[in-house]
Each structure stands twice: as structure tokens, then as C-alpha cells.
């Protein structure tokens, strides 16, 4: 039997039918056409599918879509405005913090969550916080630099 789910994604009410076995990641990508969240592993190890569910950072590959009934989901697609990229996104571009880009949406969602909790994290804190976001291209340094620079810009300091 299909489950009928009403939820909110990036501030907009959405409604869908899905099999109980469907994950949130599958619904985002296949039903709602939001393909920014990636499936790197499907088992919680890589962070490429990171979203927020009711403000909690989580792997959408380990959430059943049915669980989101009446909740609110935030994905990478809600991060930039039509006018501007988020400072994290512009600094990732500026620092060359991405190559293939598969890890990038998850990194932006997770780093944004961190900076909302702690606007002035140490480099060590950023590295620990992003330990669940795997990147096979960049070697991480440029990503960490971009997050620290974005944090500085968001605090109103010159980056």
C-alpha cells in the first residue's frame, strides 16, 4: 500500500504518494525533481545526501519518506536565493573547494548547519563537524578554508 505524505520542503508545502520502503533521498530526487542531494553510499557514511529534517542535520538516505509527514525538510536547493549564492557556495567556488562536485551539496548543507550553531568555529571544529562528508577529489583543505572564509564573511569580517 502506498503512503500519502504531506510535508514541507524548503518552505513549500508538498504532497506525494510513495511506497513505505522509499527513502527521503529517493523522493527528493525522483518524485520532486530535487537532484542536488546525491547518493554516494546509501548507508550514512558519505554525507552527500545531507538535509535538515525539522532543523536536525541528517542523511536523507537513512530517512523513510513516510517519516516526513507534517515535518519540514531543508535541502541544498533552498540554500541560495535567486539573487545570490550563499557565502559558503561563493567561497567554495573561490577557493576551488570542489572538483567533480558530488560531495558539494552535502558539504554546503552540513557547513551551513554548523555556522548557524557556531558562527566562529575553529579549524579543528570544522574538520570534526564535516568528518561525515567524504570528498574523493579535493583533499579537504580547500573545503575547510572555504568554510572558515565564509564564516568570517558572515561575521562581517574581511575574508
Amino acid at each position: 500500500m502506498k503512503v500519502h505524505v504531506q510535508t514541507e520542503v524548503n518552505g513549500e508545502a508538498v504532497e506525494f504518494l510513495c511506497d513505505p520502503t522509499t527513502t527521503l533521498l529517493e523522493v527528493l530526487r525522483d518524485n520532486l525533481g530535487l537532484r542536488g542531494s546525491k547518493e554516494g553510499c546509501g548507508t550514512g557514511d558519505c554525507g552527500a545526501c545531507s538535509v535538515e529534517l525539522d532543523g536536525a542535520l541528517a542523511c536523507s538516505c537513512l530517512i523513510l519518506a513516510a517519516e516526513t509527514q507534517g515535518r519540514s525538510v531543508a535541502t541544498i536547493e533552498g540554500v541560495a536565493t535567486p539573487e545570490a549564492l550563499h557565502p559558503l557556495q561563493s567561497h567554495l567556488l573561490k577557493s576551488a573547494g570542489l572538483q567533480c562536485g558530488v560531495c558539494t551539496p552535502g558539504i554546503v548543507v552540513a557547513a551551513k548547519h554548523l555556522l548557524e550553531q557556531d558562527p566562529n568555529p575553529t579549524e579543528e571544529a570544522v574538520r570534526y563537524f564535516l568528518a561525515g562528508n567524504l570528498c574523493r577529489c579535493t583533499g579537504y583543505d580547500k573545503i575547510i578554508r572555504a568554510v572558515l572564509d565564509a564564516a568570517a564573511e558572515m561575521r562581517g569580517e574581511a575574508a
Binding site: 548507508t43 541528517a58 523513510l64
Partner: protein, 295 residues
Amino acid sequence: MQGFAYEAPSSLEALRARLAAAQGAGELTQVLAGGTDLLVQMKQGQRAPGLILDIKRVGETQALAVDGDTLVIGASVPAAKAKAFPLVAEAFPGLAHAIDLIGSSQIQGRASLGGNLCNASPAGDTIPALIANGFEAQILTAEGLRTLPVEAFVTGVGKNALAAGEVLLALQAPVPGPRSGDAYQRFTPRTEMDIAVVGVGARLTLDDAGVIASARIALGAVAPHAFLAEAAGAALVGTRGEPEALEAAAAAAMEAAKPISDKRGSADFRRRICGVLVKRVVAQALERCTTEGAK
């Protein structure tokens, strides 16, 4: 994942009724909290329940409160919330550290202490910290509630003491008094995103002369399930945690450990690491007795 039905009862009564009905109908039921073990296990075909009962909408499982002198952590409270709760961070720094070791920031947004305990991995990081701190499992039964000390709740690799139709509702422990401290440390080859080769938790309380009045040491990943190493604790009581006392506690823990050899370490390596960690964890807990605990 193989097909299943999904339901999310929103009250204790509805949950109990649904459990009873499922049991009556012989439905293979699996409780869902954060899903960080369960969904992985289902995707890998290790579990194929017919019914998933999501307990997160049952208010009691989301409790996070101090009730008199008892700390209550609802079974489905996610790690990120539990470790940030002021009393957990201040009075249970060892437990907070154990929680913080679970997976990544993303995993901690969902993984619950209740799920970590019910999943009963020998290496589950919160289990030794819960045992050391004297946590009890509050269990919803068909008729009412029952409680079990956490050390009696884990019974084997992936096995717990819940009977069919029972659910873990919450974890509760006495709020520690003055001159008390806890600690948890694990050994892993990597600092993050790894599984404990050995984990050790301790809770010590001193009398007003600075002598150890009570000591609970719990060991993880050195037996089929985490357990209270009573002799290790007993070796510390009546001492001030002098080097000889730490050696005696470590020796007792190594004696109680029954580790296996696997890809993460040989039995002999695990036993020795266990001794080293007991000394470090006791020293850290002792330090906290005179700093944090003395407030």
C-alpha cells in the same frame, strides 16, 4: 528493501495497542527510532520486518528532562540533542563524549541512545557510559512499565532483554552529587567515523576526605556485550586512585575481559588496551571529581 508497512502511533496507548495487535497477528515488527542501524540493516537484507513502528511521535520517547534528582532521556531523543542538554554536558561529560563519538554530525542528528542500546552492538559507544553511570532502562510492557539496569538489558551480540511486544521508553539515572565524575574513552585507529576496538566507561564518587567511595567501571567491545566490571571498581574503593590502585583496577578489568580476535585487533591486543584505557579513564574521572563534580 523488502516491503513493509509503516505506522507512527502518536501516544503510549496507541503504541501499546499496536504492539499487542502485531504480536497477536504474528507480524514481524521492528521499532524505528533514528534508523541509523535499522535502515542500514534492512538495505543490506539483514532484517526484513513486516511492520515498522516509528516511535518518535510518542512524546515519552522524546523526553529530555530532570525529574527531581533523576535525569530522563527518552529512547528516541537524537544524539545531537542529548549531548547538548545542559545537565548531560555538565554532570555527565563522559556520557556526552560517548554520544559525541557516534558516527558523524549527520548520524548524530538522528541516532538515539535508545537505539544504540537496543541494537546492542558489543562496540556501541554509549553502552559502557550508560552502565558506568547507573542508568536504568524504562520498558513499556503489555501491562505497564518495568525497569532494568542497563547492564542487565544487553544480553548478547545484538541481543537485548526486551520480550516480544515490549519497547524501551526511556533511560534514567540519578543526578550525581558533589565530588563525582565520569569518563568514557575508546580506542580506534581513526579519530572519527570508526568502531571501538575497546571502550571503557567509569563513574567515581569521593567521600569528603577525597577517598573513592564508589566506583563503577564498564567495558565495551571485549565481550559479547558491554558489562560492569565489578572487581575493577572494587579495586578502587577505599583508595585515592594511587598508581597501585589504578594498576589493580586495570588488572581486574583485563581479567574480566573476554575479547575475541578479529580484523580490528587480536584478543591479546584488546586485553592490553583495555588495561591502558581503564587507567586513563579512571584518572580522567578522578580529575572531574575534584573539578566539575565539586561544584
